[in-house]
Amino acid sequence: MRRATYREGVRTALRDALRRDPRVFLLGEDVGRYGGAYACSAGLLEEFGPERVRDAPLAENGFVGAAIGAAMGGLRPIVEIMTVNFALLALDQLVNNAATLRHMTAGQVSVPLVVRMATGAGRQLGAQHSHSLENWFAHVPGLRVLAPATVQDARDMVLAAFDDPDPVVIVENQVLYPTEGDLDEDAPPVSPWHAIVRRPGRDASIITHGGSLSKSLVAAELLAKEGIEVEVLDLRCLRPLDVDAIVATVTRTHRAVLVDESWKTGGLAAEVCATLVERAFYELDAPVARVCSVEVPVPYAKHLEDAALPSPARIVDAVKGVLHGRI
C-alpha cells in the first residue's frame, strides 16, 4: 500500500495487463510517444515498444473499430479515447458493432475490448470539452460501464475490465487524474460490478459516482457538522447498476439525493431515481432529489462553470431539502 495519484493507478494497471498477457496492447491518440494526454501511459512505450503501445492517428471511429476487429481476432486491446467528447465520433462502432456482435451472431463473436476515456467538466475547457455522457453508454445493452472514483478503483477497474470477455467502457473523470489516494498494487481487484458505501449514515443517502464522489463526501462532512449523517454510496458500475445496493441504502435511510455531473434531463440520476421508484417506493419518506449539471453547454468562465456543475453546497442544500420536505 502506498500513496499514488489516480493516473498512477491507471498506469499501474495498464502495465500489469501488458505484462500479464502478450495479446494486450494499448491503442489511442498520443498514448505512446506523448505518454497519454493525461500521462496515464507515460513510460509504457519505452517498456513495451510501439506495437504494444500504439499511437493512433486522429480517427476515433476508425481506431475504435479497428480495436473491435482486433478483439474479435484474438487480441486484447485497451483503447484510450482521449476524452468522451471525441468518443461521439466513435459511437457507431461502439453501439452498432461492439455492443451487438455477440448477440447478433448468437455468441459466435466475442469482443473483449476495454475502452477508457476521460470525462467531465471542471477544468474550464468549454462546451466542446466538458461532456459527461456516461448515461449514454449505460443505456446500451452489450456494453458494461465502470466509473472509478478512487485511486484503487482506477487501477482495479482496468484490470477487471480486462478480465471481462465483453466490451467495457471506463469513464475516468478528468479532475481525478492528479488526485492522490491509497494504492495497493498487489491486491486482487475488488469486484468492480458492485457499489460501495464510502461513508455510512442514517439520515439520507447520497448516491453518486466518479468525479462527484469527492464533492459528495465534502458535503457529508459539512452536514455532519450540523448533526446530519448521510450515507454516501459510490455506484462504481453504471451498467449493470447495482440495484440491490441502491435499494439497501435507501432502505436504511429512507431519503435519497442523487449526485451526477451529467445534465439533469435524462442523466444517470434519472435511472437511479426510476430504480428507486420501482424497487424501493415504499421505503421513500420524501421525494428523491437530483443534483446534476445545469442544462447548458458548459461555459468557460470559472464562475459560470462552477455554477453549472454540482457542488458541495448544492448537495448540502438538496440533502436538507429531502430531510425537510422541500425539494
Binding site: V64, G65, G69, G73, L75, L101
Partner: protein, 325 residues
Amino acid sequence: MTPEPLERMRQMVRIRRFEERCAELYSQTKIRGFLHLYIGEEAVGVGVMGALTDDDQIVATYREHGHALARGVDAGALMAEMFGRSNGCARGRGGSMHIADVSRRFWGGFAIVGGGLPIAVGLALADKTLGRAGVTACFFGDGATEEGAYHEALNLASLWKLPVLFVCENNQYAMGTALSAHAADTELTHEPRAHGIVAERVDGMDVVAVEQAATRALEAIRRGDGPRFLEFMTYRFRAHSMYDADKYRDKTEIARWKARDPLALYAEYLLAEGLAARADLDAIDAAAMAEVDAAVAFAEQGGLEPIEDLTKDVYTHDVSARGAP
C-alpha cells in the same frame, strides 16, 4: 477439364439460384426485414473467394449472401437464418443483413455502410500481431467510399502495413444515388493511392479476371507489402432492396449490363474453350436447385428460439450476482 473452372461456375450458379428463391420467399413473407440481392455481382464474390485460403478472414456488408455461400457457409443455415429459425447460423437473431459463420472466418454482414472497414483493419492487425498468415478481405460498395470510416480505415491499414484486401464492389449506385452524384471523383482507385495503397480497377463481370486480380493482390499482401485495393466494376440486376421500386436507373443501362451477365459470360467461355459441355452446366444448375430446395426444407423445419433465451448472448456471463467474477 480442370475442376477449378467448373467450380467457379458452380458457385455463381448456387448464389444466383439461392437468391432468386430468396426473392420468391420474400414475396411469400417467409423472409422479412431488409433483403439485398447480389444478383449480377456474383463474379466478384466468387472470384475473390476463389483466391482466398481457409486462413483468410472475410468482412462483408448487408448484401452478403453470395459471399457467405462462396465462402462455404452452409446454405441451409443461411436460409434458416433468414427464416428467423433457431437452426439459422445466428439462431435467427441476425437475419439477412447479419450472416456470420466464424468457423469459416466469415465475420459477418455489417449493415452500417462503411462500418465493416475498421473491423477488417482490426482483424488484419490481429493476424499480423499474432504472426498468423491470414489476409482480411473486406467487401464494400461504391457508396461506402464517401463515409469517413473508409478514409480512416485506408489510412490505418496503410500506415500499419496490414494484410487487408480492400474489395470495392462498384455497382455504380448507392441505393438510388448514382456514383457521379455521390463521388466528386468517380475514379475510385485515386483515393487508396492517396493513402499509399496500390489500387487497380478490374472488370467485375469476368470471374476469371476477378480471381486473377485477387490472386495477384493477395500475393503482394502476403509478401508483407501492406494492403491492396481492387475496384470491381459491376452492376446489380435487381433493385437495391425489396422495398426499392428502382425508378432511378435507365432501362437501357440495365439492359446493357444484363448483356454482360457474369454467369452467361463465363458459361460461354467454358463452352467455347471446351472446358465444359452443356450437360455439365445443366448438372450444375440442377445441383444448385437441389441445394436450394434442401436449404428451404431445412429452414422450414427449423424451430423457433425460445423466448426465454431472448437475452442470451448479450453478455458472456452475468456479473450482477455478488461474488461474480
